[in-house]
C-alpha cells in the first residue's frame, strides 16, 4: 500500500458495475416518548430520520454522502451497517438480501468508521488489546502475526507503535480518529462506510489518510461510502455524490457533474456556502435562508419548499420524486424544476 504515483481517476468503465451494497425504500424511525402537549399539537411521535431512501453503492466506487446536518446521513450509514433496525425497506449485499441479524462474515465485510470516535471506542481497552481481540475473533491473521499486523495498521494511519499500550482518552482528537480508521481497516472489509473520517485531522495527516483510501481502492478494490461536510475532500476522492435533505436523497450525480451542474436548489445553496481561502469576513447574504424544518413536522409537498428560492404553488401539493435526467442517465434530482430552464438559477 504505497503512495506510488497513481494513475489519474480511472475513466468510467463502459458497463455500469453491479451494486455491491444497495438499499430499497430504506426507512429508519425513532420512537419518541408520547407527551400530552405533543399530542395536542398533533405532532408525529415517530421521527423519520431516513425516509424511503433508494441507494446503490457500486463495487469499487467511492460514493460521497453529503447534506444538511441532521438529514440522516449517519443514521443511513448505521442502517447499512446493520446497527439500527429498519422500519421499512431492504438491504442487498453482493446480490443477497441481508437479514436483520447478519452473519459474522457479512459483519466483517461491511465496516463503519464512526463520526464521534470518543464514544465509539471502548475506553477500557488499550489500542493494542482492542486490535488483537478483533483480529482474533474474526481470524484475520494467524495468532503469531497479530502484533506485527497491528503495528502495520497503525503505521498506515500515521501512528507509531507507542500507540499500542495507550487508552483512547490518552490521544488527541485527531489521533483517536485515526485509531478508529485503523480498527475498521483491520478487518479488511469489502466496503467501508466512513462517517466524517478526516474532520479532526490536520490537512497534512488528512492528505495521508485520503491517499491511503485512494490506494486501498486502487490496490484492493475497496468500495467506499464517505460522509463528509468537506466538499473539497469529496471532490478529491469520490466518483459520485448523493445529497441528503431531511431524510431523503434529493440529488445524485457523478462528482464533476454535480459540482458543475447542480440541479436541486439545496445543492446549489450548499455549493455557494463553501468557505474559500480567498474570501474573508461575513459579507453577503447566507447561501440558504431560513431554518431547517423539524424532522417531526416535515413540510407537505416538497420538503425543501420552505427555504427554496424558486418554490411555487405546485411545490406545496406535490412531493417531487427522485427523477432521472432525460439527457444524462447518471444524474437524478428530486425537484419539479430540475433539468429544465425553469429550474436554472436566475442570471445576475
Amino acid at each position: 500500500m504505497t503512495a506510488a504515483a497513481l494513475p489519474a481517476p480511472a475513466a468510467p468503465p463502459a458497463r455500469e458495475p453491479e451494486p455491491l451494497l444497495s438499499a430499497t425504500d430504506l426507512t429508519v424511525t425513532f420512537g419518541l416518548g408520547s407527551s400530552i402537549a405533543a399530542r395536542l399539537r398533533h405532532e408525529a411521535r415517530v421521527l423519520r430520520a431516513v425516509d424511503g431512501v433508494d441507494l446503490e453503492i457500486r463495487r469499487g466506487e467511492a460514493l460521497a454522502l453529503v447534506g444538511e446536518s441532521g438529514s440522516g446521513k449517519s443514521t443511513l450509514a448505521r442502517a447499512l451497517t446493520g446497527l439500527v433496525p429498519l422500519a421499512k425497506g431492504e438491504i442487498r449485499f453482493d446480490g443477497r438480501v441481508l437479514p436483520a441479524r447478519r452473519k459474522h462474515s457479512d459483519q466483517r465485510r461491511i465496516q463503519m468508521v464512526f463520526q464521534d470516535p470518543y464514544s465509539s471506542l471502548n475506553p477500557r481497552l488499550t489500542v493494542g488489546s482492542m486490535l488483537a481481540e478483533l483480529l482474533r475473533v474474526h481470524h484475520v491473521v494467524p495468532r503469531s502475526e497479530v502484533g506485527s499486523f497491528s503495528r502495520e495498521l497503525l503505521g498506515l494511519v500515521g501512528l507509531g507503535e507507542d500507540a499500542l499500550p495507550a487508552y483512547p482518552r490518552q490521544f488527541s482528537g485527531g489521533q483517536r480518529q485515526r485509531v478508529a480508521i485503523a480498527r475498521a481497516l483491520a478487518l479488511r472489509p469489502d466496503i467501508l462506510l466512513a462517517d466524517e473520517p478526516v474532520s479532526a485531522l490536520d490537512v497534512s495527516v488528512q492528505a495521508t489518510i485520503l491517499n491511503l483510501l485512494r490506494d486501498l481502492r486502487a490496490e484492493l478494490g475497496l468500495t467506499l461510502m464517505l460522509i463528509s461536510h468537506n466538499l473539497a475532500v469529496v471532490r478529491h476522492l469520490c466518483d459520485r455524490v448523493a445529497v441528503m435533505y431531511l431524510g431523503r436523497i434529493i440529488e445524485v450525480a457523478p462528482t464533476e457533474t454535480l459540482f458543475s451542474n447542480p440541479q436541486h436548489p439545496y445543492t446549489r445553496g450548499l455549493l455557494a456556502a463553501i468557505p474559500k481561502l480567498s474570501t474573508a469576513g461575513d459579507e453577503g447574504a447566507p447561501a440558504i435562508a431560513g431554518d431547517p424544518p423539524s424532522p417531526l413536522r416535515i413540510p407537505a409537498g416538497c420538503r425543501f419548499r420552505t427555504r427554496c428560492p424558486i418554490a411555487e404553488a405546485r411545490c406545496e401539493q406535490e412531493d417531487p420524486a427522485l427523477r432521472i435526467s432525460a439527457d444524462d442517465s447518471s444524474h437524478s434530482a428530486a425537484c419539479h424544476f430540475a433539468f429544465s430552464a425553469a429550474g436554472a438559477p436566475a442570471a445576475g
Binding site: A3, R214, T279
Partner: protein
C-alpha cells in the same frame, strides 16, 4: 504590546498598537503543560505565548497532537487529572488564572470565559436534557429565575440553528445528530455572554450552510459585543474567514504567527508551507495530495534543535543543535525558523514555475 520578542509573545493587535486603554483581553505567557503517562512525561505544551485583543479572533492551526486542545484546556483550567501546568501564566484582563483555586475558577468559567469542546459527546451530560444543560449556566451565574433561564436557552437554541427548539429542549444528547450536539455546545458556551470563547474545532461536524451561519454569528458577536475568540481548527479557509491573526503549532510549540492572510499565503516556516500545500483545494483537484513526509515528533523526547528538522527539506546543520525561538519579523509576523528566507525562495520559485 511591549517588547516581548525575547519571550516569544505574539501580538494580535492588527497594527501592533492596541487601542488606548485596552490591554490584551487574554495573555498566555510561556505556558508549559506536562502529562504523566506510563510511557513517560508528555510535554504537550512546551512554552507557548500569545495574546488576544478585545474583539479579535486568534486562530490556532497545526499538527494533530501538537497540543492545541491542551493549550485551551490549560487556559480554562480543565486539564485531565494526569496533566498539569508546570509553568507559565494565563492572564485574563490583568489577572493570572493559574494560581486560582477551582472554586474561584468556577466563578470565571461561564460568565467570563467559556469553551466549545472538540468532541461534544465527551463534554455533554448524557442523562440531562439539552435544554437544561444550556439553561444551567444562566441560572447559576446570571441570577435569573428558572423560567427566564429556560427562555434564554430556547432563544440560544434558535440562534445556533437548532430546528424546533421547544420540542428539542427536552431531548437528550444521544437523540441529536453530530452537528446538532455541536450546536448545543456552542449555545452553552454563549449562554452567559463571556468575554472570551475558546473554540476547539467548533464547526467540523457541521454542514457548510450551518457552519456559515455559526461563523457569521461568532463574527457578529465579536464586532458588536467585543467578544474575543481563540479558534482552533484544521480548516484553513475557515481561519481565513473568521480570524485576524493566526498562530501555527508544531510539537508543543508555536512555530509561526501573524496576520491570517500573510501567514497562509506567504508562510515563513517550512511546516506552515507544507501544511498549506497539503490541503485539498476545492477549485484545484490534484491527482494525489502531498502530505508532509515523516512522522510527528515525540513529545516525550522531542528532537534536539528545531523540532521540525527531521522532516524539513531546508534543514541545515545549525537546525540540529539550536532550538530556534519565535523571532519577530516585520509586519507583525513571527517565525521560529532559522532559515525562513528559504520559504520565500521556495514560494517565488513555485510562482515562477506556474
Amino acid at each position: 504590546m511591549t517588547g516581548a520578542a525575547g519571550t516569544g509573545a505574539v501580538g494580535t493587535a492588527s497594527a501592533g498598537i492596541p487601542p488606548a486603554g485596552t490591554g490584551p483581553m487574554l495573555e498566555v505567557r510561556d505556558l508549559h503543560v506536562q502529562i504523566a503517562s506510563r510511557r513517560g512525561l508528555v510535554r504537550a505544551v512546551d512554552g507557548v505565548s500569545f495574546e488576544v485583543v478585545k474583539g479579535d479572533a486568534l486562530g490556532i492551526v497545526g499538527e494533530s497532537g501538537s497540543g492545541k486542545s491542551m493549550t485551551l484546556r490549560a487556559i480554562l483550567g480543565v486539564l485531565p487529572p494526569e496533566a498539569r501546568i508546570t509553568s507559565g501564566q494565563v492572564i485574563l484582563d490583568g489577572q493570572d488564572l493559574v494560581p486560582l483555586r477551582q472554586s474561584d475558577l468556577n466563578r470565571i468559567r461561564g460568565p467570563r470565559i467559556s469553551m466549545i469542546f472538540q468532541e461534544p459527546m465527551s463534554a455533554l451530560n448524557p442523562v440531562m436534557r439539552v435544554g437544561s444543560q444550556i439553561a444551567e449556566g444562566p441560572l447559576i451565574h446570571l441570577g435569573i429565575g428558572r423560567a427566564k433561564a429556560a427562555e434564554r436557552a430556547l432563544e440560544l437554541m434558535r440562534r445556533v440553528g437548532i430546528p424546533d427548539p421547544e420540542r428539542r429542549y427536552r431531548a437528550y444528547p444521544h437523540e441529536f445528530s453530530g452537528g446538532m450536539r455541536q450546536r448545543v455546545m456552542i449555545a452553552i458556551a454563549l449562554a452567559c455572554e463571556p468575554e472570551i470563547i475558546l473554540c476547539d474545532e467548533p464547526t467540523t461536524a457541521l454542514d457548510v450552510t450551518i457552519q456559515d451561519q455559526i461563523l457569521r454569528l461568532l463574527a457578529t458577536l465579536c464586532r458588536e459585543t467585543g467578544v474575543s475568540l481563540v479558534f482552533v481548527t484544521h480548516d484553513l479557509p475557515v481561519v481565513a474567514q473568521v480570524c485576524q491573526q493566526v498562530a501555527v503549532m508544531y510539537g508543543g510549540r508555536l512555530v509561526e504567527s501573524g496576520p491570517v492572510r500573510e501567514v497562509l499565503h506567504d508562510p515563513r516556516h517550512p511546516y506552515t508551507l507544507g501544511l498549506v500545500r497539503s490541503a485539498p483545494d476545492f477549485d484545484n483537484v490534484r491527482e494525489s495530495l502531498v502530505p508532509i513526509p515523516g512522522s510527528p515528533p515525540s513529545l516525550i523526547s522531542p528532537p534536539e534543535g528545531c523540532r521540525f528538522h527531521p522532516r524539513c527539506k531546508f534543514a541545515e546543520e545549525d537546525c540540529l543543535v539550536t532550538e530556534p525561538p519565535l523571532r519577530l519579523l516585520p509586519g507583525g509576523r513571527a517565525t521560529a525558523c532559522l532559515h525562513h528566507e528559504r520559504c520565500i525562495e521556495a514560494i517565488e520559485a513555485e510562482r515562477a514555475a506556474q
